[in-house]
Symmetry: D2
Subunit: 362 residues, 4 copies
């Protein structure tokens, strides 16, 4: 359990923020795929800090090193292990250790679970930095899925109180254009407003949250299964593994609550000789199984808990109330960096579903 | 995969709406628990149809039959298998078979996944009827958890456009009172308004959806793990296994999007010598691990897709557009019956987390 | 885990010897296979007691009842659950309960593991009777594998001190002929000698053990994986799940100990344009992966522990030494009935490997 | 699947003989254990080549590097990843690539499974070198088990035709003495005879196999489960993951075939107020569950397939018969190096069973 995932594609995530290295092993990845290292480096860079005024200036090269599973530029079908060395560790920024637990962080719960033996430095194994190997693994999956005609894109559907449109109304949105934006949105001009909101929060020593909407095009009908391994179950399982995600919904999501059955149902129709639906309220999933329409879902991302303000907390060592001002440089808004993580997790989930489907022999 | 769940508690769900029986095997359940059969029968009855004007009049006794794992009224620690015979099957209500696929149902996707060999009668394995064995298994888990001081309750937080309050503001809500209501709500008088909304939709040959909020009290800090087996991952995986659930969120859920970090963080404080938080925005989970506060989350339930109206669809046999009017008697609002299912799934998830925690030896 | 198996084909075994029913759920089985009920009944009968003078006269019809997953004579691709009712229970034969623990049985260890809450009646969940649902599930797998050109056979390679030849020297042995023999052997006349040995032990109120050798023909090269999911790991895992199996070996097995490398290696050669090996010392497996040659392995079966003699034991209730004479009618030799169980388990293992292979997309 | 193991302790093995590094991730390991690095280095050295005239002179330091999961000398409870860099790669020894497949090796089957994309250099992921990270992970498990009073030892029970005694007759054998021997045996003087047999084979450009017997003392009754997760299933699954293991047996093993029930049964008796058995034919396991007696089992190890002789094979590139003389320096007898691997795998298996038992809450 814990940092492992998958029945068909096996991931094992490891590392701590201030340890030697972070990384991931991925077993079950297809053999013979040519790895596009440039694209991989590009995805890593999207997630890396320091790329804009909205993110922490902490600079990490995040250069992945493949220890196994890739030879002569292609995957071997054998376990892939890739690591990222930790090079830019400002341990002194983080204080004396797990005494004053940071609100909104796992300092306290990690302390309980690991009986006080956890690596608390910089968040340890809980650090958002661990999403770097997730992007790494997910990007390989994404490259494979691309060879099967599957494309993944995402945008910031909400940032604080600013709302963007929805993929539900823009099923043909330009993924490349979104990919190139720091704050990817469907609505012209919204990017600037969102940036202003982030900078306002930053000036206020505060942080903002939002919602990321993700779409997958080219998914054939028939992936997934009813009940415990529905597409929703697999994808939500993965999305909630991303630190700061507190809500996941599919298609119309929580909007379904106010829709009547007659409004919520997607009618079927024939299109060019194949079955499709007229609308996509369900987000491309019926009975836990893909229906061939674009897969659309949302993740709510809470505002970064690390803020440069004094907060009430407790001292674990003195067992008394205390105050903490979290040191270090942090992101006033994690959403730009979370977008490639959501996309990568989506690729991991689809790879798992793809392999599960392939095992459904007749 | 598919109809199985769990690393520590193993569930295997089986059966079709119009087959011989539906049921579940559950392996890994603790030995020596006295089964409270009355309470079990009561939970089964809460989920069963026919209990009010808002649900389908289809009458099923849903009497569970234990084939194994229970002896002399206590669990043996060995695999439990319990089944429910199908007795009240109106096959003729459902038409000639999988030709006209019902919008909002899995008829089409099931047809693709199972290559046309699926049991399509009455929804087959996809039927909401399969939630009966889930309630069965979950109720046993719930009885065990009760011996550990853990209590589970739920209410209808939203029905169409009618909003109830939140457990976030009512952490001490009376679970027994909610349990006894057909439409359990925190707000006085709201039950009648909700019932009226359901009956209005029914009169309109339509159906309504909503949101169920669930709370678990008495959960100790330290259950769950970061990343792939976060409490959120495990619980959302299970919730999305319930047919019709399209969104799951924890604590403030999608409301987090509009909160700044300073608003979203739960400060820590000492209370009677132990660490707790002042608020519970996070729903009792930090870094994927329980923090000792009540666990609070929401599930959005889409309106029942089966409505007594003509809808556009396709004929799989003729490969052409068609119209369908779904016959049979259906629930204008599934929420009252979904409440015990959400509670049962919650108990299953907590049992899995409980056992995982127990395996974390030092 | 315990009574569950499989990453791709999920089995969940349940039931106790003297409970309501025994059975199995099998999830992940291919859709669209026509079930040969006659062949299934035949395999069940091979395992059932009472078929010869060598087995217990306890008569059980062992008629499987499919609760789910089979419709109109074909598999649906959805979870299969099949049960066998317990009808012929001589509870009084088994005495006062788990007081005097039977040597060679799990009475004592089950008592420890399940904290005294186990169903001890007639061996409970540990009973060899639980192999009936294994034969049931395995036979379905076998029917599927047959459609892929894979055939499974077995013979009694040793019974007490009587040795039969080996499939290693008889790769083209007649499976049908073996199938029809009560004591299947490759050597003419050996059956009679073996029967005499069994009857001699029976007359002596004793029982005999032996070795079963199994062969699978038609397995393509490329099934299995190195290390933790080698073909040997998967098959031995399953074989040791059969009560009374105490040794499993592949190809030359323990005979390898005395062979030098030059004797043990199987040379490669071209045969009709494809790669094969000249000999099959390795039993068709290299590096954990099938090589296209017949898969050959052996299981050592210890003599039935239930013998009609007084044996030294302890009283769990009085915590003192005691003597026990196991009542009831038991098999002087379990091997004839174990042969179809070994074959069925083999089919289960191959089905798992077959699906794993199918998931290895490129 | 493939290079992963465990439901409670999760292992993910990676690396290729001539890649950047080999290593293992281990998730679920207990928090707070002080790592004895000297003992760990010692176990790594036992497995490493070059320690005697009987092993390949290839010298590798095999110094493990912990990337995660260990801090200030203790385990954190979070995923452990440790790697071993590959430094001593004589690629030129191995020729032009996967053309001439080596008899007894996985060159051919790996080629089929991985569609020709596998890393074939020096055996790639199939290399016996991958047992180094297994020893690493297993030694950590062993250190934990030692804190629980569990001790593991092994000896060479057979080498070619030379037989040693059995732990069945020497339950109190001196583990430390065996640990310090290059060819650990119970019989005085046998070590010299075995060494002579190895050197004779070496002089003959050949190799020898044998049998390793392993014993675990201090295992409490109650670990393991019936059927699919019997102690035998778990341990055999792991043992057959060791390259070259072709047979695994428990207690009297294949010797059970010739024993009658009356001879094979272990009588129970009271000893110092607790239940025990008079003999240990069953190797400490009844019904798949430990009975509190020493756990005893054997692994047959085939002779190293790499021998300095010309052997018949095929050319995959030319699709024709060919001859191969495997270059490089190889072990005439792998048994001395396999002993610590068997012990380490045993520790891994017991750690899994230990955690599974801990999850069996009441």
């Amino acid at each position: 359990m814990s940092s492992c995932f998958g029945q068909h594609l096996h991931l094992s995530l490891f590392g701590q923020s201030h340890g030697e290295a972070i990384g991931i092993t991925m077993d079950g990845f297809p053999a013979g795929m040519t790895v596009d290292m440039d694209q991989l480096t590009g995805e890593m860079a999207r997630r890396a800090p320091g790329s804009s005024s909205m993110t922490t200036p902490r600079k990490e090269p995040d250069q992945p090193e493949f220890l196994s599973g890739v030879m002569d530029g292609h995957t071997t079908g054998q376990p892939i292990c890739a690591i990222i060395r930790n090079t830019n560790m400002h341990s002194r920024d983080y204080g004396q250790g797990v005494d004053l637990v940071r609100p909104g962080h796992a300092d306290y719960t990690g302390h309980v679970r690991y009986y006080g033996f956890e690596d608390w430095r910089g968040g340890g194994h809980f650090s958002g930095r661990l999403t770097a190997p997730i992007v790494l693994a997910g990007t390989l999956c994404r490259q494979y899925l691309k060879t099967q005609g599957i494309a993944i894109g995402a945008h910031i559907q909400q940032l604080e109180n600013l709302q963007d449109g929805s993929f539900l109304d823009h099923p043909h949105a330009d993924f490349q254009k979104l990919h190139d934006m720091i704050l990817p949105v469907l609505t012209d001009g919204l990017e600037q407003a969102m940036e202003a909101a982030v900078l306002a929060a930053k000036a206020d020593n505060d942080s903002v949250g939002g919602v990321i909407e993700c779409m997958v095009r080219g998914v054939p009908a028939g992936l997934g299964a009813p009940f415990f391994d529905s597409v929703e179950s697999i994808l939500s399982h993965l999305m909630f593994a991303i630190p700061a995600v507190k809500g996941v919904s599919f298609g119309d999501g929580f909007g379904f609550a106010a829709l009547r059955g007659s409004q919520a149902n997607d009618s079927f129709c024939m299109e060019n000789g194949r079955v499709t639906t007229v609308t996509d309220h369900c987000g491309g999933i019926l009975g836990g199984i893909t229906d061939g329409m674009p897969l659309i879902f949302r993740c709510c991302i809470r505002a970064t808990p690390s803020i440069a303000r004094e907060q009430a907390t407790v001292s674990l060592q003195k067992n008394e109330n205390a105050a903490i001002t979290v040191q270090g440089r942090h992101d006033p808004c994690i959403l730009p960096r979370a977008v490639p993580v959501v996309e990568a997790m989506t690729a991991i989930g689809l790879m798992e579903l793809w392999k599960e489907r392939a095992a459904c022999v007749r």
